[in-house]
Amino acid sequence: MTTEKNYRNDAYAKVSGRAAYADDVNFAGALHMVPVYADFVAATNLQIDCADALRSPGCVRVLTAADVPGSCTYGQIEQDYPILVRDTIRSWGDVVALVLADTREQALAAAALVKVTATPQKPLLTIEEAMDPYARVIPSYGNSNIVVHHAMRHGNPDPEFAGCELVLEEDFETQTIEQAYMEPESAISVPRHDGVIEIYGSMQHPFSTRRFTAAFLGEPLSNFEVYTIAVGGGFGGKDDTAACVCARTALAARLLRRPVKMTYTREWSIRESYKRHPYKLHYKVGFSSEGQIMAVQAKILADSGAYLSVSPWVTWRSTAQCCGAYSVENVHADVYAVATNNVFTGAMRGFGSPQVNFAIEQLMDMAAVQLGIHPLGIRRMNMVKQGSRTVTGQLLDNHTVSLEEVMNKVVHEIGYRKKFEQCSRGKSEGDTLYGIGLAISYRGSSLGAEGMDFCTSIINGQYDGSILVESGIHENGQGSESVMLLVLAEELGVNLKRLRYRRGSTSNIPDSGTTVATRGTIMGSSSVLIAARKFKELLAGHLAERLRCKPEDVRFHDDKIWGLSFDYSLTWEEAMKELFLQRVTPYAFGTFQAPDVSWDDTTGQGNAYFTYVYSCQAVELEIDKKTGKIKLLNIVAGHDIGKAINRAMVLGQMHGGIAQGVGMALMEEILRPEGRISTLNFDAYKIPRTTDLPEISGIIVENHDPNSLTGAKGIGEPALELIAPAIANAVFNASGKRFRSMPIKINPEDLE
């Protein structure tokens, strides 16, 4: 049965204002908690004096590291992130105490009275300072500020450069970016009669939240039940920090035996939460006279800030994708993450690829100009094709490699060829300069060799014919529950009305990893399909007799269950009742394991990802000669995502990803003079508004992917990873000037 293509199970709740986000969840008798920061960037010998705060009206308790029964620090890879600081402050975002009071106002007033003293240290704020061999070692583990080094050794580039027609050696820089989900972090924890603490939080990963909480309280995982509720955006940014917000409320709820709520202000959210890694990239690329890339050498440095978070995984993706969408025989790359006293960096949509794409896709245009080749020609010559080997040595033969098809579609739709000829290149009659630019990318789907990749789903038939489904994938507002419902409705041939998604909790389904890396669709729906197939097999076995056919001949369509002939059919109501009469539970459990991937850490070689998404984005823009202001005129984006299960949702993800990429290219930047973030709210941290964006057209290319049971691969991250270099290329074609760092700001004097 075909289904409504823009269906969302949460649309009504959200459009009517009824969807409950964490701060909308209330329990009688809850205490309010607020964090206390210390105005240090780096310091030791932390001392906290709570006496005045405790005397403040309504204040109930002040919690510090001394109250923590478990581990004060935790993390996804290294357990180094302080949920509460014990002795050493490593960044301006560190939390030193928690103040509880009857009302939020009272908690805020008391928090202002907490006195913090410490011995300041000289903050190390640049990668260069931190890499100095004599620099103080910032991390609590290991013995160096270089906390990650990934190497890729593919062929040997060194001897190749001499024979190249053109060798480009260029430096690029990308900035610190805030995810800027519209809903700041919030959590409420509630002690339950049986000793379990229930947690409702604005976080993107209930299982990660549970791990942080259990470690912090020193209790088993099963003592906490983390529920899925509406989340106001995450974009990768609601893992570690958001999990800590939950863990802190759980600690307070345990110690005070009452519900405890903590809701962040925007300022706290930006001060404390992890950001996108700023990168410094040095590339040396050799081209033949025809434009073939002969050799690449790259050294890439990422500022990981004070704590590790997922820096090893982010930089791993940068390593695996360091040559963009191109096949290159000789590549040596070294990617480092360096600890500094900046607020830490971690996961954000795009995850290590927007930075490398910003460099590579500009280098391609630079080489095209210098060699006198068309930008499309040089891309076509070098891009990965069916049967190509990637720079990690992976043979691309298990799915359709459609990069050229995608690029052609975008080029055609926007009219790139003709418009490319019309670019101003620094000269124009009027007040504006015109330019068009594009970029291409391929992106490994799901976690790849970064992590464990599997997901489970449960289908639970009810005796009246209705059906409950749940999976280990967490809804972050992107609509993953709805996608899974659509997939299930189609597989069972039932009306969507028959299906309900069961609100997830960490206590009723196995840990299925986080909703990151564009894996929600591919993993979640594949596991739903596996469960659905088992479910159908079970039903067929028990209903075949009544349908007068063999189990393998039972069919599921048109909201009924059918035998071989149309004379025999059962409604779902009849079928479910029949199963219950046979004392059989109509219940199925499905697990999807991602296909195998492999990785050799010393050479950076292997089958990095089990499949790839192919993308091209193009943009037209205008530069005002007097002000230098850039106005985007039009964006066209094409992505081969395998299959669109919900078109409106896929397009929505494209538009949103592009908007975030535009923000990165033109306006966003976390400023942190002396390690203290000064861009703490939307007046200083500017994200794109309606008037900053042009009309965006999305082209969905669908080459069903055999590696995913539904054929779909997901769109969340590819959408964001390549508009910035496309804009940089368009700015060059308009102005004749190259911008090697972001955000791109044009000084009108530079245009003369």
Partner: protein, 170 residues
């Protein structure tokens, strides 16, 4: 006694609440959780409500100044029988909802625009929604939704008025 109209009903305001912001007043005293707090500094538009037909940021609006005025929140947009307003329907039909945190403010900003200008151009829609940030959608489907709502209300001759007000006059 201080009074104001809230979603079509007259309510009384305690003197002690007069210094609160409308954001806190509506959430904490009237449990209208559709009024969202994204920045509390008048910068994001998540807390947008309608005060005497104008879009206002409730996080910067003292209750004192609202006395005697008529307020509409997202909860007042639907009809008394629970049907959603055509603008809300259009948001659903155009796929304009992702995380939904900006949605109440967006719907109300669109409502105020359509009250003043029932058939705006896309450019006019962009200008009217400039103060409302959305991090999920890139605004494309939101603009589509407002365009669609305008068309449907025009084609079917539906009144723009918020559902709670229509219920009253009916």
């Amino acid at each position: 006694m201080n009074k104001l109209q809230l979603n079509g009903r007259e309510i009384e305001v305690q003197d002690s609440d007069l210094s609160m912001t409308l954001l806190r007043f509506l959430r904490e005293r009237h449990f209208l959780y559709g009024v969202k707090n994204g920045c509390e500094q008048g910068l994001c538009g998540s807390c947008t409500i309608v005060v005497d037909g104008k879009a206002m940021r409730s996080c910067k609006f003292p209750v004192q100044k609202a006395v005697g005025k008529s307020l509409i929140t997202i909860e007042g947009m639907e009809y008394p029988d629970g049907r959603v307003h055509p603008i809300q329907q259009a948001f659903m039909d155009a796929g304009a909802i992702q995380c939904g945190f900006c949605t109440p403010g967006m719907v109300l900003a669109a409502y105020v625009l359509l009250l003043e200008n029932p058939q705006p151009t896309r450019e006019q829609i962009r200008k009217a929604l400039r103060g409302n940030l959305c991090r999920c959608t890139g605004y494309q489907h939101i603009i589509d939704a407002v365009e669609l709502a305008a068309k449907i209300m025009h084609d079917q001759g539906l009144p723009v008025q918020a559902g709670c007000l229509q219920g009253q006059s009916a």
